[in-house]
């Protein structure tokens, strides 16, 4: 059997998730033995004009050109993996959606603002069909390996739909709420092995919210610790603006 043709693409993002691949070290070579890496602009000049068995796509969609490009990539790909928070939930780029586009353009580019186009930030699945999701900013390498295995063998991958708190407890961390500090762990989907909390920081919600967050329970926690709801919303809109806004506006148009 011929090894599957795999390609990486990047849209609006920091390219950090791609870099996670280079960070695999020598074990990257064993991955390269079973796939045929045909395009990866960040580290390769090679181009491929056939069909991609797997397209791994990083970044969010923020310009009309992005829309065109991702649509073409989707047409040429059998399987499409949204790779990293920018791609799966809009990520940090979503903060832009908290401002009026005209205003933020002017702020950054002044008089030259009219020279270029920008759209509200969207994750990939709001523009094209996505087959697999690898959440995280950056992606958690062990999870990426899992997803890649599933994609290569055509099996589904189920993103954990429990809160980061579950992993955090397994790791025996002292809960931040007990220290009087807010953490987004209770509403954020697990799968990163509570990466940030293990390193003394709080969860910022980079993997997006669990599909059915226990809002009532969370509100009670906030009440118990006397935390202002606005404070938490402000923190949530660091990664989850796209979803928050979608709920408020009753869905974003394609």
């Amino acid at each position: 059997m011929k090894p599957p043709k795999v390609a990486f693409f990047d849209f609006t993002c920091c390219e950090g998730c791609q870099l996670q691949v280079a960070n695999f070290g020598e074990s990257l070579l064993s991955i390269l033995e079973i796939i045929d890496l045909v395009e990866f602009r960040e580290v390769m000049s090679e181009k491929w004009d056939g069909v991609y068995d797997i397209a791994i796509v990083e970044g969010s969609i923020t310009t009309p050109h992005d829309v065109e490009r991702i649509t073409k990539i989707r047409q040429r790909s059998k399987t499409l993996i949204a790779y990293g928070s920018c791609a799966t939930i809009g990520g940090i780029n979503g903060i832009k959606n908290n401002f009026s586009l005209e205003e933020i353009k002017k702020y950054v580019y002044g008089d030259s603002a009219q020279l270029f186009e920008t759209l509200p930030t969207r994750p990939l699945h709001e523009v094209v069909e996505v087959d697999y999701f690898v959440h995280g900013c950056p992606v958690y390498p062990p999870e990426f390996v899992e997803v890649l295995k599933c994609a290569l063998s055509g099996l589904p991958y189920h993103v954990p739909d429990v809160a980061v708190c579950v992993e955090c407890k397994f790791n025996e961390n002292v809960c931040f709420y007990e220290k009087g500090i807010t953490c987004l762990g209770p509403i954020t989907r697990a799968g990163c092995n509570s990466w940030c909390i293990n390193n003394g920081n709080i969860c910022y919600g980079c993997r997006g919210m669990v599909s059915n967050p226990n809002e009532k329970g969370f509100q009670e926690v906030l009440k118990q610790y006397n935390i202002d709801l606005n404070f938490i919303v402000k923190r949530m809109d660091m990664y989850n603006t796209c979803r928050l806004k979608q709920n408020l506006q009753g869905g974003i148009q394609k």
């Binding site: 870099l19 000049s45 920081n201």
Partner: protein
Amino acid sequence: MSKSFNVNLEYLTRVEGHGNIVINVRDGSLEECRLEIVESPRFFEGMLRGRSVFEVQHITSRICGICACSHSLASIQAAEDAIGFTPSEQTVKLRKLLMDLEILDSHILHIYLLALPDFLGVKSFVPLIDTHNQTVKRALRMKKTCNQVCDILVGRHVHPISCTVGGFTKLPREKDLETMLELLEGMTKDLEETAELMNQLSFPQFERDTEYVALVSEDAEYPLLQGSAIGSSEGITVDKKDYQKVTNEFVVPYSTAKRTKWNRESYMVGALARLNLNYSKLHPKAKEVGDALGMNRKITNPYLNTLAQVVECFHCLYHGMDIIKELMRDGINYDEEIVVGLNEKKSIPVKAGSGVGAVEAPRGILFHHYQVDDNGHITDANCIIPTAQNLQNIEYDMRKLIPEILEKDEEEIVHRLEMLVRSYDPCISCSTHFLKVSFVK
């Protein structure tokens, strides 16, 4: 020579981010030559408004995954400067170690995975897996080591977790220090071999003297994390607070990307600029290597930026190991471990103010500048990345280079130009305020 051709190279590869090269030669004379930036704008400066200085580093490190630690460190410096907080000596030491690791990691990525294929006549590292297996393995091994050490120090390299405003949320234990040192010591042999390999390559000949800009310091240390001022090869220095006197951002009529210039028509930042300004302050081990590679003089060939990176790798590795040894000798004060969310508890006093952070990111000097209100919320932000500062200089290089190589065939010319751009190791994904360029036909 009456050669005519057009080059329209879309999507430069093996650089971070999206850029194009456009060239137009008519009857042997260069009519048009541009490095275009087509990265989708991300509006970071706009997005920072209203965010707390205590979370801003988390956002700004996402400007770039390749130099996430530099962005974090510049951001923290600006935030701390704005609210009037002075970090402890131990914190500064650990931040310097982080800076060393980042430069080491990023340079290795560039030297091996982005630049080396050019010298070996291939399109990427992939074919090298068969032809130069040991070399590829060495590169991946070194990258992995940097990454592992970063994991121990700050949780991960791509978007560090534990290094925040105020200090570190988790400090390395004794065992961690030992492991980090062992890992880095294990890299010394690979790095020696890297220098040998680089010594065998023949770099394109090309000279263009320009202005070189980097942080400078009054003390004996090679300034990476914090210099006392911004210096120029023209013999001028300014306080880092006055960074705008250096960058002088401007727009050129034929291209809308923001450019910078200081005392001459353009300037260069990065490894080569740092070496040209601060060679004598390099770690002795790096000087030894630099001397052997012939880098101990003023270098005006931009292609040699890659060699300057090799020299800096030695500096960062040995300087980093020295820091770890010092920490092992003196012990770490764990009382300094900070708890995030300090802002909620207001344990670090906050006042309104303005702060500038300036660090030497792998690709050159990086500025973050914040205005903060009484609540520690950002009211104004400005970030100027190294690649923006290099753009104008790259174009001047191209303009001087093209007439010199016009007799070569087109493919070779394009390749030379790509190599030139690549030698600057541009990081276009960082683009915080590049503008999209429209094509001039």
